[in-house]
Amino acid sequence: MEQTVTFFDTWYNSTTKLVNDWREATEKLSGEQKSMWEEAGKMQQNWMHSFQTMMQNMQLPFMGGSGTSSPFAHTGMQDAFFNMLKSTDIYTRLFQLWQPVLQAMQHNTCQSQDFWKLIDQQGFKTFVDKLFGFDAVTPVRAFMDQSTQMMKLWMDSATEASKSFGPMFGNSMPFFGSFAQLNPQSLTQWYMQMAQTAQRSFAPFWGSTDKGQMPSLQSVVEMMQQWGNYMAKVNQLQTMLYKQSVSAWEKVMQTMADRAREGNVPTDFNQFYNEWSAINEAEFVALFNTDEYAALQGELIKLNSELTKAYEKQMEVFLQPYPVVLRSQLDEVYKVNHELRGRINTLEKLVSELQSNQSNKPETSAPQNQSEIKTSSAEENKPGRKENK
């Protein structure tokens, strides 16, 4: 607990200090435009760095609950603060990205053909990823990490087998960071290649494994393949969003240029943001209303559910020898319970109808299966209510 509270306090103190430093710097540097820009740039970077650290820490597993590790009394407040951080991050990044363009426009040096030269492309990609949550720690990411760890373990014990797979992972990782992934075809191939290489790499290892364990190894590789398919589709979706963003940003640029000619430029960044936001939202909604997008989204949801299921199955294989109740077994119990409950309901209705007919009353009797409740606050302690999020 102490460590986390200290971490938050540290963030709060350093943020407050940063604000004070900026104020001081502003006073000192007034008039010296060039050095002032450098200072402003440095401070932006500092701010972003502290911001990122905070964001990353808030996504750590120990921050997930409402236990003693969080300074917030309720997880809802922690979520709200995280959303404030994330939104401010996006807002500030947008400013950073557009700053050179707006400056060029201000000095009448911006030509539309130069627009993308003034935008930091990696920053643009990161921005879109953040806007749509591709940067978030997702269960798939956690699954990927677990699988990678498992693979690494096996690779350590099967040195020869891992030779072709290891370098592939290592050598190809920088590829992720480049803009080449805007081509979904190449990435799909890359993922498939990776999955096939994984299969080849582990083939000798399976040969030396006990029969009983073979299906789980096979399943892991199948999962890796499924993961590859899923990530390829995610990448297609990202690409779609990047392309739509490019189109939206160009529209914003055109709108700004038109307005500059009319002498009607935004007077503060928030005004610019609102204009940018309205144009972008309309563009994205238009994209989301296409069959192409809807089909891809549908495929992603399907692949994600299949991956989750495959992972569960695999976990059950691992857990099989242990005295635990498996989810698939519980599902069977739920199914039987549901059927039994249905039969009881039918019988209760029948009894109710018979009683009603016997007493020859109009059909306004309460159902037999009702239970009167005397609680004053029905909202509290509701059955099945979710835990604090």
């Binding site: 943020t15 700053q99 806007l131 949801i301 159902p367």
Partner: protein
């Protein structure tokens, strides 16, 4: 563009960060925000479903009790966010005797519950409980969003138990051009989703709803930074956020059927929907109908709600547009003054 001067940039960054730190301090002081605080009592329960009755200090001025049927998606608390933004309290103030069916939070054991069990099971049982408690042979059903669809289906199957039908922002025609959810549903392999996951996570639905207005979240959180030093405004904001995040999982089989037979096959308007082995014919709805839709609804576009009035057999039917969005209809300031009193007036006129 004066805001691009280094001086202004520093000021902007400085101010934003200061607000963020203030926001951190303000949120640290707050406990869970309370929503749905209007006094009520659970009068019946089956499994996880409860029937709640809202407490009244004075007798109701309308004889016919009202059962509010909210959607399975999200929670009914949106209708009672806070004392001065409460559709429920406004209906009460207008003299109505209110009940609400609370669907609860489905857990994995509820994955096999079907639409038939929700409508002909829980909802029918709740209606019978109210009829028995009040001695009224028929009640008013007031359905909201998906709860409106359920109410329409119920009224078609059990017309003798429904005296009046009120629907708000209710999808009936699931295949209209501006309906983004409908577009997405056409490409959803709902069998794979339900077979693989059982219940459908509330988070998945929330992620979908967020995509309908993809920039909204960022914009509203940036805006709220200007109100971190205004406790009332901040609390209002947090109550709405609390409601949005409180998204129950959906019982798998019911979700499958709702998506497949309504969103994908549009069976309700085609007249091919069956429930519990009985056909659902909208023409069988002959009781008075008040159908209210939101003019700027991005979740249930007006075109999805409006056709109901042409499909029912009622002769006494009203179609009322209301300015605002899907949620704004219930929480907006105009709603507080006009929506509930308008509905209550319509019901009083028919309370004979």
């Amino acid at each position: 563009m004066d805001f691009l001067s280094p001086q202004r940039v520093l000021e902007e960054f400085s101010a934003t960060t200061a607000k963020l730190a203030q926001g951190f301090e303000a949120l640290k002081q707050l406990d869970q925000v309370a929503v749905g605080a209007a006094p009520k009592q659970a009068v019946w329960q089956k499994d996880k479903v409860q029937l709640l009755q809202y407490a009244r200090e004075t007798p109701a001025t309308a004889q016919t009790p009202i059962l509010i049927v909210y959607a399975l998606v999200n929670r009914h608390n949106m209708m009672d966010l806070q004392d001065d933004r409460s559709f429920i309290r406004n209906l009460q103030a207008a003299g109505l005797d209110l009940y609400l069916i609370d669907w609860g939070y489905p857990t994995p054991e509820d994955r096999y519950f079907t639409m038939d069990e929700y409508i002909n099971g829980y909802l029918d049982a709740a209606v019978d409980v109210i009829r028995a408690r009040t001695g009224q042979p028929a009640i008013t059903l007031m359905g909201i969003c998906q709860g409106g669809t359920f109410s329409v289906v119920y009224s078609a199957l059990h017309p003798h138990k429904v005296k009046n039908l009120v629907t708000l922002v209710t999808p009936i025609d699931f295949a209209t051009p501006r309906d983004l959810l409908s577009k997405w549903a056409q490409h959803l392999d709902v069998d794979a989703l339900v077979d693989n996951q059982g219940n459908v996570p509330g988070e998945l639905l929330n992620a979908g709803f967020a995509l309908l207005k993809p920039l909204l979240k960022t914009t509203k959180y940036v805006s709220i930074l200007n109100a971190v030093d205004k406790p009332e405004q901040l609390l209002n904001f947090l109550r709405m956020e609390h409601w949005i995040a409180d998204s129950p999982n959906q019982a798998g089989e019911c979700f499958r059927q709702f998506v497949k037979e309504l969103y994908q096959q549009n069976r309700l308007v085609k007249g091919t929907l069956e429930l519990g082995g009985r056909p659902v014919r909208l023409a069988a709805i002959t009781m008075p109908l008040l159908n209210i839709y939101a003019q700027e609804d991005h979740l249930v576009p007006p075109e999805a709600s409006i056709p109901l009035n042409d499909l029912v057999g009622s002769t006494d039917k009203s179609l009322t547009p209301f300015a605002g969005g899907h949620i704004g209809v219930f929480v907006g300031s105009r709603s507080q003054k006009e929506l509930a009193p308008g509905i209550a007036h319509w019901l009083h006129e028919r309370d004979t």
